[in-house]
């Protein structure tokens, strides 16, 4: 812009601010810091912040701000040029014990023991796909940072580390090709999920029966784990304070809620068919959001002999943030019962949930995500937010902005009629076959 500027950042984000400025080419940017947090503070408290010192340097904050705009630049601050950044040599040689420590200490792992990606194991993994090991297949960004690129071989190394078999490799390449990381830099501790559809579910022995979301099959366990290890390595995600800021963190990041759809027991079209793929195609679909809750906690006529799962699900979703989507994870018993109640397609259920999961405008405006993400869009005229923000506080509006916020997947072993519900948005569906 060519205009001197000073960003004010709260001290909790010191490392993030300095590293982000550096990665974007201004490593000596004059950043000034306030105490943390700013959110929720009174004007009197904020005046103390402004009149007080920068908590990082101890110098008076506003003097730093004024100096930041007026003190002449140093030679280093005027520098131009290209800086290349190395991530080390292509291979490492040491004892197995030392390499385990080395990978752990350098943040390459999820802090569980790994399978060391020896040349032999990586070569074996590469045989799981016809794609050339040196093919650059994607870009992945850790939050707002510039994205990193990666090859088939680099994906293979993470796949080995997670304990994947070579036949799983096309799924990991499909995920990597999207550039979507399962670790996101937000303070919100996001969770991620994937749905697997197609014949590959049986070929690779995914579990979509009893305990479908649990640790009961190698494919479910290691492919989910690999996504997080890939996110750390391919896109440099998951560095606390730098590329990861989730305040509490999310345990689902270890495995990313791998859902192989129980297509055979479902009364509805499989998820990938809804997205335009053929039933015989193998597809992985990715989701992002905040987490999963069990349906047993929901209200909605569950005490009688004919549970109303639509009402139960609506009750659950009414506690979610509409900013993220609503994913129904239905045991086949639930899905079959819903069909008997008239929902002969997933779309009919979605339509009912969209229309019957509501909130008042007052409640909507009071939500964190509404203020942070949707109010700014309302000011820009983006619908439905622009209309919603003009309505009176007691007006009733949908809890989610559109019917497409909802998705439905069927999985589980039919030991009981329990749904689960995820506050997660659909991202993308990609072919696995393309990566075989």
């Amino acid at each position: 812009m060519g205009i001197p500027s000073v960003p004010l950042v709260t001290k909790a984000f010191k490392d993030l601010a300095i590293l982000n400025a550096g990665k974007r080419g201004m490593p000596l940017e004059r950043i000034c810091f306030t105490p943390h947090p700013v959110w929720g503070k009174t004007p009197e408290e904020l005046r103390v912040y402004v009149d007080g010192p920068d908590p990082i340097t101890g110098k008076p904050l506003m003097k730093e701000v004024v100096d930041g705009l007026t003190v002449p630049l140093s030679a280093d601050e005027k520098k131009t040029g290209i800086v290349s950044v190395s991530v080390g040599p292509p291979t490492f040689t040491d004892t197995a014990e030392n390499l385990q420590e080395f990978y752990l200490n350098n943040g390459y792992t999820d802090f569980l023991p790994i399978v060391l990606p020896t040349q032999e194991k990586v070569d074996a993994m590469l045989k799981g796909s016809s794609h050339h090991p040196d093919e650059v297949i994607g870009k992945m960004a850790a939050g707002a940072y510039p994205p990193w690129t990666y090859t088939v071989r680099q994906v293979a190394a993470s796949a080995v580390m997670a304990g994947c078999r070579p036949e799983y490799f096309p799924i990991l390449l499909a995920i990597a090709s999207t550039g979507i990381a399962s670790l996101f830099s937000s303070t919100n501790s996001f969770a991620f999920s994937m749905i697997i559809n197609g014949p590959i579910r049986d070929k690779l022995e995914f579990n979509y029966g009893i305990g479908a979301l649990g640790p009961f099959a190698q494919a479910n366990a290691t492919i989910g784990r690999a996504w997080t290890i890939m996110s750390k390595n391919l896109g440099n995600g998951g560095i606390p304070g730098d590329t990861y800021l989730g305040s509490v963190g999310n345990n689902l990041n270890y495995n990313n809620v791998v859902i192989a759809e129980n297509e055979e027991a479902s009364p509805w079209d499989p998820f990938h068919v809804q997205r335009g793929f053929k039933k015989e195609e193998n597809v992985v679909s990715l989701f992002r959001g905040l987490g999963v809750v069990p349906g047993q906690v929901a209200r909605g006529s569950s005490v009688n002999t004919s549970p109303m799962f639509d009402a139960q699900l609506s009750d659950l979703f009414s506690t979610f943030t509409g900013f993220f989507g609503a994913l129904v994870i239905a045991d086949p018993l639930v899905a079959v019962r819903l069909k008997e109640q008239g929902y002969d397609t997933k779309e009919k259920l979605i339509d009912w949930l969209y229309k019957n999961t509501t909130q008042t405008v007052k409640d909507y405006k009071g939500r964190n995500y509404s203020y942070l993400f949707e109010y700014p869009q309302a000011l820009q005229g983006v619908e439905p937010f622009a209309t919603w923000y003009k309505l009176p506080d007691d007006a009733v509006i949908p809890h989610f902005p559109r019917a497409s916020s909802f998705n439905v997947v069927v999985t589980g072993g039919q030991t009981n009629a329990y749904p689960q519900a995820a506050n997660m948005s659909y991202g993308v569906s990609v072919s696995i076959d393309k990566w075989m």
């Binding site: 001197p4 080419g25 700013v38 503070k41 912040y49 510039p146």
Partner: protein
């Protein structure tokens, strides 16, 4: 961690502090522990992707002083940013009344770019203070 150590994680600070961008290839990797000389060694693949190179951007020239200048206070939209910037505004009113202040909320959610605002600031402003609360 200080700025020098932080930037060394990028392989940057030695370059910037010694003035040789062409030799910036630094690695952040901690050395592996010393191995037992008799132990069997194996070779493993580095799993890291490839980071982009960094184009250094020279900072904008600074002002001689803020007296009589126009400073834009830009609110990114994070919770509390507006309230914090209001206190900054009051500080200027008390301590540097010759400064003209223009308060703007950046358009869109916090991560969305706002080229019209940057254009306005370039045309009408002399300096920017941007606040990202939380």
């Amino acid at each position: 961690m200080n700025r020098r150590k932080l930037l060394s994680l990028l392989g940057m600070s030695p370059v910037l502090l010694t003035g040789n961008p062409a030799q910036a290839g630094q690695t952040k990797h901690a050395a592996a522990p010393a191995a037992d000389p008799g132990a069997v060694k194996i070779t493993t693949v580095n799993p890291k992707g490839t980071p982009p190179s960094i184009q250094l951007i020279p900072m904008a020239p600074r002002l001689d002083s803020l007296d009589g200048k126009t400073v834009y206070l830009v609110d990114t939209g994070f919770h509390g940013s507006d309230a914090l910037l209001h206190q900054v505004e009051l500080w200027f009113n008390r301590n540097m009344p010759s400064v003209t202040l223009v308060f703007k909320r950046k358009a869109g959610p916090y991560a969305q770019d706002d080229p019209p605002l940057w254009k306005e600031i370039k045309e009408k402003g002399n300096a920017v203070i941007m606040a990202t609360g939380h």
